[in-house]
Symmetry: C2
Subunit: 413 residues, 2 copies
């Protein structure tokens, strides 16, 4: 048996980051950039107004006030999207809408709220009274204020969120080069499995792991491909495991413990390479990792909770590394354990638990239900895995324990 | 101008939770259950072993030890998936694989690690030596230990994660009834907009808001439908806004400030009902909310950051309510402001900021870049909105401020 950390280290040393593909902006959401994103223009591409109002000359309105308003002649009306052609001369102003280019001659904008339309006012022509002073450059967004042409706006390795998508769009990119999502094959094993729609007969149970695993793959950023159930024969197991090289990763459940009918391990050794097959952890000590034809292979145990915890500890970091993420560990917090816990001293325990904020500001961690590894209820109700270290056979209530927050994305503070 | 809280209250009071649809287990990931999920069987459906080993009679092996092992006659070999037919009598044992049903007569399982195969051992027949005592019922998972037939395993209103999917599968559900994802129409407005692939000419800018909004809708749990750009004519605006009743929600950007060319508000008043059109906040005071033919309508301002912040404050909670979520507010934390900030006292400010853990354990919040509302860089680099309250015109460094964590899902602690 190797430790969880050793096992994670072995896995990640074998996993390679996948190549890139070009996708639409919306498809890039949540993916990792494979290349820097460069701007093809200045943003803003021209000086423009941040407010609706009047483009004016600062020198004309520096002393304007309610009691002594400055009257200007309105020479133009500039909507957004139109290049103004009439300059603003001394004693003049142009009506201007948010986003519209600043006309030549003007060097400040007075908000419409601080003006009063004068007599004979039309769309253009007539006069406007300015009721407050302006500062030089007020409400003007300068050309290149955000970004200059040729500047890098997004960096290789960054994760794409909605703001990054908006930024990419504004600098001319309607597609982005991102790391591929790993294609993950899922195989269940066991003569005891029946499909979900079947009512299990004597000795049979439903194949639920395929479904929870597919959801875990999707959440981790992979694309799940369900290959079906391999029965407990070498022939059947060989046929499905032999498909591993069609995918970036293969995950099986069941068939890797010490049972005489566990053929997965036998077939794996014969077809590929075995790195480890047992990890000092509970639930889920029988965790197999190796390669088949170069494709990384995870043989997770068959108990539903062991499968999910094994995925969380080994497969999820692998999928994220392949997809280009550099943050591979879920956020961890220290919490006060709520109850005495007995354990075997030769392995790490991962209790399915729930973190709550204690009134003093710290966290308390309590189990979120029955800890049998056949039960998913505690996993469903929990938001963390409470990690109890090797070497201890009893952890009393009140101990500070490390909790892995499975409700939070990697890389959040 | 109404306050942010008043505006949010008005929005949510008009938003109705959507009806349900039946989807596959994988499609249900991240959705909200519309009905309880009931088990059609006992789980486990039969007493079975949690370990590979030997099914024994407790009375035979209660005193077994390395120094005085108990020798039992092996009468059967039970793989998972097979109903055993040979009972275990006194002095007998059956080899048994993880998950296999417990044979009659047996009331404990001894792990294979604590046995030694005796002479003449075959698949069945021969003998086994038990080297450790067993306790009554040891390693036996009882019928119905997780769930009894007819019991509720998932509750209406719960969010579906991978463990819930596994639970649903194990109790016979290959589809689930969940709230519909809102269909959200997205309309950009403005004569100044050109498509991303075009190089903007004089006075023009690229239509980036459509893309950031579609990503925000997707992240919030909605389905984005991009209807295109409405030019600044009543006819064009009327044609696109008139499509609102085809959708669950409509969001527009631009066209709602005080500009003479802002026709959205005019058309909205004519076609629908206007609830509010200005909120005491920055960025993005011009926030319009109303209904067109019964469909809720959000008119967000056109500046990229104002659009995103307006979405975050008003549209995202609306989408989540429609999709059945009850947690509608992002997690908030108190942090120490890193720098002096001047503001207008008549409105709430939402600075785009970054939270970092300070060495003492609390959080520090600093702006994540230029705060111009035309710039998405600070939004991209940030992980929170720093909320600075109305009534203040200056907030000094060191003030405890409330920060909205836009990097975390609603409902996480």
């Amino acid at each position: 048996m190797i430790s969880v950390e050793e096992a994670q280290g072995q896995v990640l040393s074998r996993i390679m980051v996948l190549d890139a593909e070009r996708v639409t902006l919306l498809e890039s959401l949540g993916r990792v950039l494979e290349t820097d994103v460069i701007s093809d223009i200045d943003v803003s591409p021209f000086d423009n107004t941040a407010m609706d109002g009047y483009a004016v000359r600062y020198a004309d309105v520096r002393d304007a006030s309610e009691s002594s308003p400055v009257t200007l002649q309105v020479v133009d009306h500039i909507p957004a999207g139109v290049q103004p052609e009439i300059p603003v001369g001394p004693g003049q102003a142009s009506r201007i809408m948010t986003g519209a280019p600043i006309p030549s001659g003007a060097d400040a904008v007075v908000m419409v709220e601080y003006t009063r339309v004068g007599e004979n006012a039309g769309s253009t022509g007539g006069t406007v009274e300015v009721l407050r002073p302006a500062t030089l450059g007020e409400h003007i967004r300068s050309r290149g204020e955000e970004v200059h042409e040729g500047e890098t706006v997004l960096l290789r390795g960054e994760t794409i969120g909605p703001a990054a998508i908006g930024l990419a769009a504004s600098v001319g990119h309607d597609t982005l080069l991102v790391h591929r999502r790993p294609r993950v094959a899922i195989v269940s094993t066991g003569d005891e499995l029946v499909e979900v729609t079947e009512k299990p007969g004597p000795g049979k149970i439903r194949n639920s792991n395929t479904h929870s695993l597919a959801a875990q793959v999707l959440e981790a950023g992979g694309e799940p491909y369900v290959l079906g159930i391999a029965r407990d024969t070498e022939e059947d197991t060989r046929a499905l495991l032999g498909r591993a090289p069609e995918f970036d990763l293969m995950v099986t459940t069941g068939g890797v413990s010490m049972g005489d009918f566990d053929v997965v391990k036998k077939v794996l050794v014969e077809m590929g390479k075995l790195d480890f097959w047992k990890v000092a952890m509970r639930p889920g000590a029988p965790q197999t990792f190796g390669t088949i034809g170069g494709t990384p292979f995870f043989g997770l145990p068959g108990n539903p909770t062991s499968t999910m915890v094994g995925f969380e500890m080994f497969v999820r970091p692998a999928i994220r590394k392949m997809a280009g993420f550099t943050a591979l560990a879920r956020p961890r917090v220290i919490a006060t354990l709520a109850h005495d816990t007995k354990k075997k001293s030769d392995r790490r325990y991962f209790l399915r638990g729930r973190l709550t904020r204690s009134p003093e500001g710290g966290y308390t961690a309590a189990i979120s239900g029955n800890q049998s590894s056949a039960l998913l209820t505690a996993m469903h109700r929990g938001n963390c895995l409470i990690s109890l270290p090797e070497g201890e056979s009893f952890v009393p209530a009140g101990t500070e324990v490390m909790c892995i927050r499975i409700d939070l994305e990697e890389g959040t503070a």
